[in-house]
Symmetry: D2
């Protein structure tokens, strides 16, 4: 199954991140834009495409997400605001699962397997 | 959907970990034992149970897994061998997704959401 | 410089973890026991030893640490309580730096280099 | 001690990353550029500055680093090439320690404490 899947977990609180704005970009174009759903998934039909080899970028609006949460102390200048995660697709027939784990103070993004 | 799910990714090579031996234990008993499947999932019927609140342990046989892989240099005494990951279940009605990311030199285990 | 160093960061809040109880164990013995200092380091003279090859265990009292912090919501049964991190020392002349990153909902422990 | 420190660990092999090209940027300017040293540190005098509040960017040339290592299989289009890690400095008097853990297939970047 080709395509990309993106799953966001707020590991500071052990919950999936709901309603975080995410975009998928390529070569200056926004391929998909929306918010993570109740399961933390960025569920967008454009992600099921067969992507040409090349460089892509997932963009996560972490600062806005945490500023909407209650009882999460944040500094005046947030440590993380809009996170750009660039990754390369080499084989269009593979699936690229991109789990994204974050706190207000960092993130972890390792390919989750084909 | 109550229960536990366990997914293992070998982030040193960007692939799901296939055939890694895993156990789920509680109070001195092995509740489930088996190997991760072709998707990196520890797919065992006992994991769909409704678990009583308390302390549980997932055990990952990382050393044996890496010793079977080709072209992965390992020291004579492996850095990781059998990893014990203890976690508490507080609410039996919640799902506990446990993504587990490893290399021969460490691991990351954050609850992946309800 | 042989030996082991242990550094704990609370990545849910972007701070070093101060006052977390830590132990280093080997073959049923406690080699060192104490609390992380103001820099998040487990600073104990026994860690500067030249360790024989074999299996060691660092133990982190995460549950007690978070229960003392203010404004950190925790479930009745904490997800993490006492974390056991087993690692192997293969070359006694190498240094084993063990950075430990945690939230109440998971941790990351990759060897930080020789 | 104000300033920024950057430490890179190749967690796929349990070693510090030596010779990885790194830059620190702010507002369109390169504040510091160089390669990580034998300890994996990006040791540059500009990092000891007192930085004004605002948005900064650390840039890591991961693709070039791994393409120079032996026995690391990489796809034709590397999954990671040049990684941009944007972070905000809110309090110029604090120290921002930025440990960066990577494999060819992902990275983890959580603030390592003040």
């Amino acid at each position: 199954m080709p395509g990309v899947s993106i799953h966001v977990v707020d590991v500071s609180r052990g919950v999936v991140a709901i309603g975080m704005q995410v975009e998928l970009r390529h070569a200056g174009h926004v391929l998909a834009s929306g918010a993570t759903n109740a399961k933390g998934l960025f569920d967008h039909p454009a992600l099921a495409a067969t992507f040409a080899p090349g460089s892509y970028e997932a963009v996560f609006h972490i600062g806005a997400y945490y500023s909407r949460q209650k009882n999460v102390p944040l500094p005046e200048v947030p440590f993380l605001d809009i996170v750009h995660y660039r990754f390369g697709i080499s084989d269009p027939q593979q699936h690229y699962h991109l789990p994204f784990k974050c706190t207000p103070w960092g993130y972890s993004c390792f390919r989750g397997g084909a």
